[in-house]
């Protein structure tokens, strides 16, 4: 896929957000990845041109960060947290089940355009084991529910993130990372029981923070 003039305009917009344009390089790489499903030489060159740096300089950055892919994720990115907490609480079994279902291993893309990745802690350990689809949360999965998510996506069915919107695609999320005002912030499942666990206990037991002392 080649980058269109729309993308080039968007790259310029990103660069203009910062006091020094080069600060935009990470979002710019997300943007070119949102068009091509991976970071290609063409994408890197486009970023470098806008910033007035060499392609080698931009490549050095692109290869440092794990979210930039060098194989096209045509449809969905499937992440499974196998860091200690999630892994030991069942993420290892979830990963094995997904690997068997998708027929690929870590960082590989299958014929249907699904990439599988063992990911590190997703800042969702209270919801272990955690899976992500196109980086949206799929909390509290089991091998069975994880495979069912992939099956539903393969059939083209609607799948809802546990905390977040209906799953779109890998490239759509990449576009969000460059331009986060995607209209999907509302998702009313965003704050779940686990995020409310302490508040509910406090309400049940009539606990609250002390009030403001008189002199204030």
């Amino acid at each position: 896929m080649t980058l269109t003039s729309t993308t080039r305009v968007e790259l310029q917009q990103l660069a203009a957000q910062y006091p020094q344009p080069r600060s935009a390089l990470l979002p710019m790489l997300h943007l070119v990845q949102s068009v091509e499903g991976e970071v290609t030489a063409e994408g890197i060159t486009a970023c470098a041109e806008v910033l007035g740096i060499t392609a080698a300089e931009a490549t050095a950055v692109a290869t440092f960060y794990t979210m930039y892919k060098r194989d096209a994720v045509a449809k969905h990115h499937i992440g499974v947290c196998t860091n200690t907490l999630c892994g030991l609480l069942g993420g290892d079994a979830v990963y094995d089940a997904l690997s068997a279902r998708l027929g690929v291993g870590h960082n590989q893309v299958n014929a249907d355009g699904f990439m599988l990745e063992r990911i590190e802690c997703q800042a969702a350990c209270t919801h272990a084991p955690v899976m992500t689809v196109d980086w949206e949360f799929m909390d509290d999965v089991t091998p069975g529910t994880a495979v069912a998510v992939v099956d539903a996506l393969s059939r083209g069915e609607q799948v809802q993130a546990t905390r977040g919107p209906v799953i779109r695609s890998f490239v759509a999320t990449e576009h969000t990372l460059a331009f986060p005002l995607d209209g999907l912030a509302a998702a009313d499942n965003s704050v779940d029981d686990k995020m409310l666990a302490g508040l509910r206990v406090a309400q049940e037991r009539n606990m609250s923070a002390p009030s403001i002392p008189q002199e204030h």
Binding site: F64, C125, W135, P180
Partner: protein
């Protein structure tokens, strides 16, 4: 000790993430108040509050702000560290999803105090939902005139950029974060100079954690005396604790610093199936583990240090007796090896070697000599690395050895999976009987 929801108080209102929702609970009143004060007096308030950074190190926030040279005619910057990637840490992302305006209001007040006209919120890239909620909060605040030029008629101008990272734990280290935000590989810088003097674009910069900044509206709005009713002299305030692992009700529990793990555990319903606590970590994988003996120690910076560990991110991970400590430690080292930025030799090579030896133990092929080799390897990394990631990587093994030496001895001949059936530690019903 009772739970005290402050940052989390209105999380059950689904509109809290919007400007109107936040305002309906008293949001942005502290900002209006702050803009009428002298910036220095806000710095003084935060200093007097005793607030300590919630990103892990617990550095006094007001003191950090006061290191920024004032009236130097230079551009100043505020950078919010929203990279939350420490294994076990899961409290900043929930704050940004549920209550993003508390962060945004904190950013505006802090920027005013340190005289910054540009602020950046650097959020790890893997959490699009947190990013879109913070971006929307910034947009709504901008539309309401709370960000931009001449905010609320005060003459103060501020621009806020929400920036997505791209997958690198090291970018949570504050100077690596700055390099990343300047569009480079995220590798730590030599200190000094400290960011307060030469940070982003070589200008004076304050870097604070999400939860730290989310405290600011409450401190400025309710005052030092109110804030100091929570916690201890050295650890004032409340904390968004995130309790994970083998507990009945994992989740977010906000309480004063100084609550004990036993109390938090009780609120979280206790351990699943009434099993015993085997080991737990008060705040991320980079702090030494503790055992059931330590459940009654107050969760404060000073008490955790006295117990030989650290409060860290204040996000306890609880493991029961179905878990192999050998396997847990090996997995953490695989993480540090993967995330080492490669800049300095002790960490780049050391994490590789430690992980290799630990993997032998995990598979039941260790040796009694290597139990000691690992100690030597950790000593050669700790204190000799360029940044604290190296020290962190040298932490899990010595701590585990202190309490569970017998398990490493057993792993000389018996693999972790033979010692502990892996499925017994799974949390779903597909697990075999325990």
């Amino acid at each position: 000790m009772a739970l005290t929801p402050v940052i989390t108080e209105f999380w059950d209102d689904p509109s809290l993430y919007t400007l109107d929702g936040y305002k309906s609970h008293g949001g942005y009143v502290a900002l209006a108040d702050a803009l009428k004060q002298d910036p220095d007096s806000i710095i003084a308030t935060v200093k007097d509050s005793g607030l300590r950074g919630r990103g892990g190190a617990g550095f006094p926030t007001g003191l950090k702000w006061s290191f920024v040279p004032q009236n130097d005619g230079k551009e100043h910057y505020l950078v919010v560290n929203a990279d939350e990637s420490e294994p076990g840490a899961c409290k900043d992302i929930p704050i940004m999803i549920a209550n993003p305006h508390a962060l945004v209001e904190g950013v505006i007040i802090t920027s005013y105090a340190i005289r910054a006209s540009h602020a950046f919120i650097y959020i790890r890239g893997e959490v699009p939902h947190a990013i879109r909620r913070v971006a929307l909060a910034v947009e709504q605040a901008r539309a309401a005139g709370l960000i931009g030029n001449d905010i609320l008629g005060s003459g103060f101008d501020l621009n806020i950029v929400v920036h997505a990272g791209a997958g690198a734990y090291i970018c949570g280290e504050e100077t690596a974060l700055l390099d990343s935000l300047e569009g480079y590989r995220g590798q730590p810088r030599l200190k000094p100079p400290f960011p307060a003097v030469a940070g982003l674009y070589a200008s004076p910069t304050v870097i604070n954690n999400v939860e730290t900044i989310a405290n600011i509206p409450y401190i400025v709005g309710r005052g030092v005396d109110w804030f100091r009713q929570f916690g201890t002299e050295k650890s004032p305030g409340f904390k968004v604790f995130a309790v994970s692992g083998h507990v009945k009700r994992p989740g977010i529990y906000e309480a004063p610093l100084g609550i004990t793990m036993r109390e938090l555990l009780d609120y979280a319903g206790g351990m699943r199936d009434g099993r015993p606590v085997k080991f737990w970590l008060p705040g991320g994988s980079s702090v030494p583990m503790l055992t059931a003996e330590h459940l009654d120690i107050p969760l404060t910076y000073e008490d955790m240090a006295a117990a030989g560990t650290m409060l860290g991110t204040g996000t306890p991970m609880m493991f029961d007796d179905t878990v192999s400590v050998v396997k847990a430690v090996t997995r953490w080292l695989e993480f540090y090896k993967h995330e080492s930025c490669g800049k300095c030799t002790p960490c780049r090579e050391g994490t590789y070697w430690i992980t290799g030896v630990l993997e032998k133990f995990e598979h039941g092929h260790g040796s009694s000599e290597e139990v000691e080799t690992l100690v030597t390897l950790c000593n050669q990394i700790s204190g000799r690395s360029f940044c604290a990631l190296g020290d962190a990587a040298a932490t899990p093994y010595p701590a585990a050895l202190k309490y569970f030496r017998d398990e490493f001895d057993a792993a000389i001949t018996t693999s972790a999976d033979e010692q502990f059936n892996p499925s017994a530690s799974y949390v779903f019903a597909e697990a075999v009987s325990r």
